[in-house]
């Protein structure tokens, strides 16, 4: 619906007043003038050259772009896995990219849910344990022990939601790609994040399975009003999102949303 124009020097206070955003929910995650470059030997490789982005509450945003355009990099910055060279990231009104390490860890655990292209489940743990792992990370040994029944129930529910409740004790390598990706989604959601960041969640799956995953994401967005930011290079999949942005030469370029 909106056209996100690259505004390199947008002052970080105007977004709410723009007329076209008035009808929309409040921006939940805002990126201002993000720049990121990688240093290889002597020469710098600029990847992001000033990205401005607003993610609104409950929206399904997709980001497309060519391979190597920096989609993953942007998603990592948004999820606080990496720090931008220039620019800031705000959660609501609070700047979050320059917080101390401990707070960042907590935000990653509480606010963001990550889904990766290669699932990235922990191979030593069973499906249930994988899904439980964000909760385990959150709690101390004692805290976890006290609430273990409740937490397991929570994880089981989440697994049931992605349709894997019959494979609780299987190890990741005993699951198919689609199943692993569902497990990864369950893991990302179990900690009740406010924003789900998905980096090519279907990139490694065949069309049919990818479809299922997309449906699952769309369903979550629909029913639970979960904010989803999905990175993909598949334009067709991107069209299912509320809004699609394209990353070109290190800047975001707006695209017409499908919905």
């Amino acid at each position: 619906m909106t056209t996100e124009t690259p505004t390199l020097d947008t002052p970080p206070d105007v977004s709410d007043d723009r007329p076209d955003t008035l009808a929309m929910p409040k921006p939940q995650l805002t990126c201002y003038a993000l720049e990121k470059s990688y240093r290889k030997a002597d020469h710098e490789v600029p990847v992001l050259r000033g990205v401005d982005l607003e993610v609104r509450e409950g929206e399904f945003l997709s980001i497309v772009g060519q391979s190597g355009s920096g989609k993953s990099t942007l998603l990592h910055l948004m999820g606080l896995l990496d720090a931008p060279d220039v620019g800031e990231i705000r959660l609501g009104d609070q700047r979050i990219d320059d917080l101390p390490e401990r707070t960042l860890d907590e935000l990653r655990n509480h606010v963001f849910g990550f889904v990766f292209q290669f699932y990235h489940l922990l191979p030593e743990l069973s499906l249930l344990e994988n899904v439980l792992s964000p909760l385990m990370i959150r709690l101390s040994l004692l805290g976890y022990w006290r609430k273990r029944k409740e937490l397991r129930e929570q994880a089981r529910e989440m697994i049931a939601k992605v349709g894997l409740d019959h494979r609780l004790s299987h190890k990741p390598r005993e699951l198919s790609g689609g199943e692993m990706q569902r497990a990864a989604i369950a893991r990302a959601l179990v900690s009740k994040p406010r924003i789900l960041l998905a980096d090519e969640p279907t990139g490694n799956l065949d069309g049919e399975t990818g479809r299922e995953i997309m449906d699952l994401l769309a369903d979550l967005n629909d029913r639970e009003k979960l904010t989803i930011v999905m990175v993909t290079h598949d334009a067709a999949l991107a069209r299912e999102a509320d809004r699609t942005l394209e990353l070109v030469k290190g800047r975001l370029v707006g695209q017409a949303a499908a919905a």
């Binding site: 990496d82 990653r108 792992s133």
Partner: protein
């Protein structure tokens, strides 16, 4: 929570970690075994070195000694009586032991110690070392039961076996001399014991008047004569007649000895069987010749014959091949340590046993104050054997350092393997961080992993080491049987079995050390894991 879970999972699924555990286990087990055996050896060695030495020894600076031991002992008791359990006065002097073996005279330098066996037994072990109180074994089979009961106090009497042996020898000699009467041929080599009558008849009479004192009640003879050895004071033929006519030649002489086994026996390997046998040259009941000096001025050489009452074996070859115990009164008489008028006896040494050896330093200090240093030297047995004890201690310290290197090697193994695991787990570390795990959390996974390896490894090592120590002699048997070579040769080490001593402190120290090394070795990899950048870790292929 995830830390613990992952730790355990990594432990269970990484078989390479087994290598770490095994190396820690082996290191710990080796250290425990070697330390236990070393401690066993060393305490056995200490016992042996202590063996015939009393806790504290008050030694006269002169071998002439000092008169009136009772006064000295009273003084000692007055100074530190509370710490003292027992005391015995002795006379210590250098001498020579001579005996005939296969027709040849063998003379050896010895330390001659005049003791009262009962008194000596109170200040330290004595009976335990005497042959007649011990069972003689050859390997596992008992060759001879103890001849005397432990309850019987140590004394200068002959066992019935020794008496029988003596009678047989004397009878043989008598017969021999009767047959050879008039001839001056060599003595049959098989009769290895000199015949008092025969010997003194020829050359040695004037050197050795005491040799004749074979009659038991002849006390006054010696009392009168002993201080004046220089001149032949009485008519030897009269004594000689006494001896021949009245005295039973099989009765033991007045000089009685306990001789160190190393002085009168030697090991010999049987060329056929390869077994080592002990050849005994002098046995209880035989007579030997002792030479020493008088306490007069200038000291004169004296010689006397004495009957060997027993052979002792303390297990400390230094003692067994140099000490000869003699009956104190007799030694005092022949050395002229009896005052001609008052009849007081001199002694050179007072051996003291303490109630608690820990008080030794205090006692020594008090005694040194009470007894002038020029006249008396006061030492504990440890001081007397200082260099030897120090050698044992240094040896075990060096061995410990070397052994700890084994565990250090295990530590480096852990370091290498952990680095490998960290590299292998790089992506998982990235995932954990993406899920919100802190750097410290990731680090503690690997530290905990190291600790777990250390705990499991050293636990297994402790069990293995203790089992090995418990069954060390059985294991030795098996190895001997497998290799056909005796691992632990009993003739080399006096011990019948490998001595071991397990100390709880040592086991704790070793296992904590091993755990510490395991944790230390995991610090570097853990820090590396913690410092991994989440994105780079995730991108890691």
């Amino acid at each position: 929570m995830y830390k613990l879970l992952l730790c355990l999972r990594y432990l269970r699924t990484r078989y390479i970690a087994l290598a770490c555990i095994v190396s820690v286990t082996l290191g710990v087990a080796t250290m425990i075994v070697v330390n236990s055996v070393m401690a066993g050896f060393s305490s056995e060695m200490r016992d042996r070195i202590h063996g015939l030495l009393a806790d504290v020894v008050l030694e006269s600076a002169s071998i002439d000694g000092h008169p009136d031991p009772e006064a000295h002992m009273a003084r000692i008791r007055q100074v530190c009586g509370d710490d003292i359990e027992a005391m015995t006065p002795t006379v210590e002097v250098y001498g020579m032991l001579s005996f005939q073996y296969l027709g040849h005279w063998i003379t050896r330098p010895v330390t001659l110690i005049g003791i009262d066996p009962e008194g000596k037994a109170k200040v330290g072990p004595l009976k335990e070392y005497l042959d007649s109180y011990r069972e003689i074994t050859d390997g596992d089979t008992v060759v001879r039961q103890p001849l005397r009961d432990v309850g019987v106090p140590a004394g200068w009497t002959l066992t019935p076996e020794a008496v029988a042996h003596r009678e047989a020898v004397k009878l043989h000699e008598l017969q021999y001399y009767r047959e050879q009467d008039g001839e001056t041929g060599r003595i049959d080599p098989s009769t290895i014991v000199e015949q008092p009558g025969g010997e003194t008849r020829t050359a040695e009479r004037e050197f050795d008047p005491s040799e004749f004192d074979t009659d038991e009640p002849g006390e006054e003879n010696v009392a009168d004569d002993a201080p004046t050895f220089d001149e032949p004071p009485f008519d030897p033929s009269k004594l000689f007649e006494d001896e021949i006519e009245e005295v039973d030649p099989t009765a033991p002489l007045r000089g009685r000895l306990f001789v160190g086994s190393g002085l009168v026996s030697f090991p010999q390997e049987d060329p056929q069987t390869g077994k080592v046998k002990t050849i005994v040259m002098v046995r209880p009941g035989d007579d030997v010749k002792i030479s020493t000096v008088t306490s007069g001025r200038p000291p004169d050489t004296i010689h006397f014959n004495a009957t060997v009452c027993d052979v002792f074996k303390s297990g400390m070859s230094e003692y067994d091949s140099s000490l000869v115990f003699c009956n104190l009164e007799y030694l005092q008489e022949v050395r002229g340590m009896l005052h001609p008028e008052t009849g007081t006896r001199s002694i050179t040494t007072i051996q003291i046993k303490l109630k608690d050896f820990k008080d030794a330093d205090e006692v020594i200090a008090k005694l040194r104050e009470a007894f002038p240093p020029g006249m008396w030297s006061i030492q504990t047995w440890e001081e007397k054997q200082g260099p030897l004890l120090a050698a044992v201690e240094v040896e075990s310290a060096i061995l410990n350092v070397l052994l700890f290197l084994i565990i250090a090697v295990a530590g480096f193994g852990i370091l290498a393997i952990f680095f490998m695991i960290v590299v292998e787990k790089t992506r998982d570390i990235g995932i954990l961080k993406a899920l919100g795990a802190s750097s410290r959390g990731v680090m503690s996974i690997f530290l905990g992993y190291g600790l777990a390896l250390g705990v499991v490894g050293s636990g297994a090592g402790v069990v293995m080491g203790l089992l090995f120590v418990a069954y060390i002699n059985e294991i030795e048997d098996v190895i001997t049987w497998l290799t056909g070579r005796e691992v632990f040769d009993q003739t080399i080490y006096y011990f019948p079995a490998i001595p071991t001593a397990v100390s709880v402190g040592m086991v704790l120290w070793v296992s904590f050390g091993a755990m510490l090394i395991a944790v230390l070795a995991s610090i570097l990899p853990a820090r590396r894991a913690a410092s991994l950048h989440p994105v780079e870790a995730l991108r890691f292929e």
